[in-house]
Symmetry: C2
Subunit: 368 residues, 2 copies
């Protein structure tokens, strides 16, 4: 048996016990409050984990890109929301192929996008289910809640071969929060604005089956708002230093880490490890102010700060008393698990500190 | 023939004419001043480009990681400097295998590292050439110039099966420069400190064949210092927005770009593209203060700023008059070409705006 400490570095570790606990916990929550769970698999990019999520109660999965959907369909998963605007001829062709094999739903936020999708469906003799993407404050894609969403809905229902299922949002601006109270406010507003908008659509004769919300920090808040039907958290399978910074998780909840080796200690206050930005990524909080210190948490060494990253070097600030020496291995909880997963080709599944399997990260690099 | 505008997005483009010009220009410079050129191939990770560099006059190549060396040896390249501290049993085993096929040089900066390497060589009946890594101001790996380097050299020459070739440095702190004058000062200091240290070693009876310096911004400065024997620029094959910000290159020198599609324009001042941090990376200047604006330069749209990136979305700030619409394609010069290359599986080689070949990026993700 290969033990964690024997692995060549840098290596990506996934602790199975913690992963299963995180998956079960969110599934139990969704079941208890009576909403559907459609986890965002861009967090892990692993068909194996998606299947565990489905087995424990998820109704389907969410992906960002067509390429991610292709990987998941290839692995046998058939209920997928592509929470992304698909634009362009090649994307339409690829989507039409996928529709032969799976129940795919697509996000739209513009009449132009809806028309292109509708036309492709007509050309290929297909129907596709769509969700209107609503901007509840992230200010990325999406139409504004209320009248703007109603206006888009009225155009969409006129278009042939599109089946409007409902509305969706992602309150990613929650990652800019400074406190648990702020997380609560963002989550509540996410749910309330969506439910209000759904009511407006229904009052105007437009059917709304799905009101879909949620990120890992807000899913357990917006999910509870009466009228919400679906939550789409992603990161919760792992958690990471950004989630810890927001007060959403504790260090012991984190299932993902990077194993690295000390390769140099040029002076008493500086240690160099073999993991840099190509391993740990440069994320310090995606959608707002930083809630993290440095470029990851060094497990068991609270005073060590990962101060800088070059591509292949991590530069750690330590006190002269720090016992780490050349050849020692350390474990790092990354700031943002989702982007770190995307840098690796494979992940080491660990049970009781032993390697039980190596999984290829099939969804890695699926940006198209 | 497939034209650039027909490619599915996001796609990584490499313009051959510009690539060849950049390779030739640096090779001509090295030849003219009489130093060896050993380009750092971590910039491109492509055996095809490494072979072009060798064909046009490079004496060998530099890599960061053993995995990169393995890819290059596999492709038939046999003179490689691993400018990195190799630590640990698995790394030693892999290095010993590589030594059977190629002339590998390795960087060392500690007695502990040198002893491990020496012992592995003894165990496997091999000899390896080593360069002492000197810290000329980046404050990453490396011993200080002067007495500290001499001290390490004295230990290294005592160890069996190591052949001390000389000294190397990388003045990466040049990326923190605010002006061309500062770039000049960093480059001159890089060369001068190294030559002085080489003299000190020679005065103490230690042979120094190689005095190796250089980054893309400093290679043409430190390379000219009398006594320097080798330069190791990497990024120059592409250039990027960070190099433009430093005054080292102009927009028209850049051979690498990312093609992206506008997928949403939710309001007159905001455009969303299908390239986010998983495509453009989050680099805003690696080793010091930022010299760039936003997350890349949009070619032909000087007033457009890539203001934020999520993983799959680029959020662009525009004026209401900006003509970009859903479905339009734009081309982006990334801030840091090297990290962007590492995010893609393949690169599109472009000649006269037509696709002539797709290259697999074989060195991508080689972090071990």
């Amino acid at each position: 048996m290969i033990r964690v400490c024997d692995l060549d570095t840098p290596a990506l570790l996934l602790r199975e016990e913690r992963l299963l606990k995180n998956i079960k916990d969110m599934a139990d929550f969704a079941k208890k409050i009576g909403v559907s769970l459609r986890p965002h698999t861009k967090a892990h990019k692993l068909p194996q984990v998606a299947k565990l999520q489905l087995k424990m109660g998820a109704v389907g999965i969410t992906v960002s890109k067509l390429g991610e959907a292709e990987v998941m369909v290839e692995a046998g998963i058939t209920d997928i929301l592509i929470a992304y605007q698909l634009i362009g001829k090649t994307k339409m062709e690829r989507l039409m192929k996928l529709l032969k094999k799976a129940d795919i739903k697509v996000a739209i936020d513009s009449v132009a996008g809806a028309k292109e999708l509708s036309q492709a469906c007509v050309d290929y003799g297909k129907e596709v289910k769509v969700l209107l993407e609503v901007n509840t404050g992230l200010n990325r894609c999406g139409v504004l809640p209320g009248e703007d969403t109603l206006k888009l809905a009225r155009e969409v229902v006129k278009l042939p071969n599109l089946k409007l299922l409902g509305i969706m949002t992602h309150a990613g601006h929650v990652y800019g929060s400074a406190s648990k109270e702020e997380v609560l406010r963002v989550g509540e507003a996410e749910g309330e604005e969506m439910v209000k908008t759904a009511e407006l659509l229904k009052d105007n004769g437009i059917e709304v089956q799905v009101v879909s919300v949620g990120s890992t920090p807000t899913a357990k808040i917006s999910g509870k708002v009466k009228g919400v039907t679906e939550i789409r958290p992603g990161n919760y399978v792992f958690y990471d230093a950004i989630q810890i910074g927001l007060g959403v998780a504790k260090e012991e909840d984190c299932s993902l880490s990077v194993l690295a080796t000390v390769i140099s200690r040029p002076c008493p206050e500086r240690i160099i490890i073999d993991a840099g930005s190509k391993t740990l990524a440069l994320d310090q909080g995606a959608h707002g102010k930083s809630t993290v210190r440095g470029f990851g948490l060094v497990k068991g060494y609270n005073n060590v700060i990962i101060e800088r990253l070059s591509e292949e070097h991590g530069i750690l600030k330590v006190t002269p008393e720090c016992p780490l020496q050349i050849g020692d291995k350390i474990e790092i909880i990354p700031n943002h698990a989702c982007t770190v997963i995307n840098l690796f080709d494979e992940i080491h599944l660990i049970r009781n500190e032993e390697l039980i399997e190596i999984w290829k990260i099939k969804g890695r690099g699926q940006v198209r």
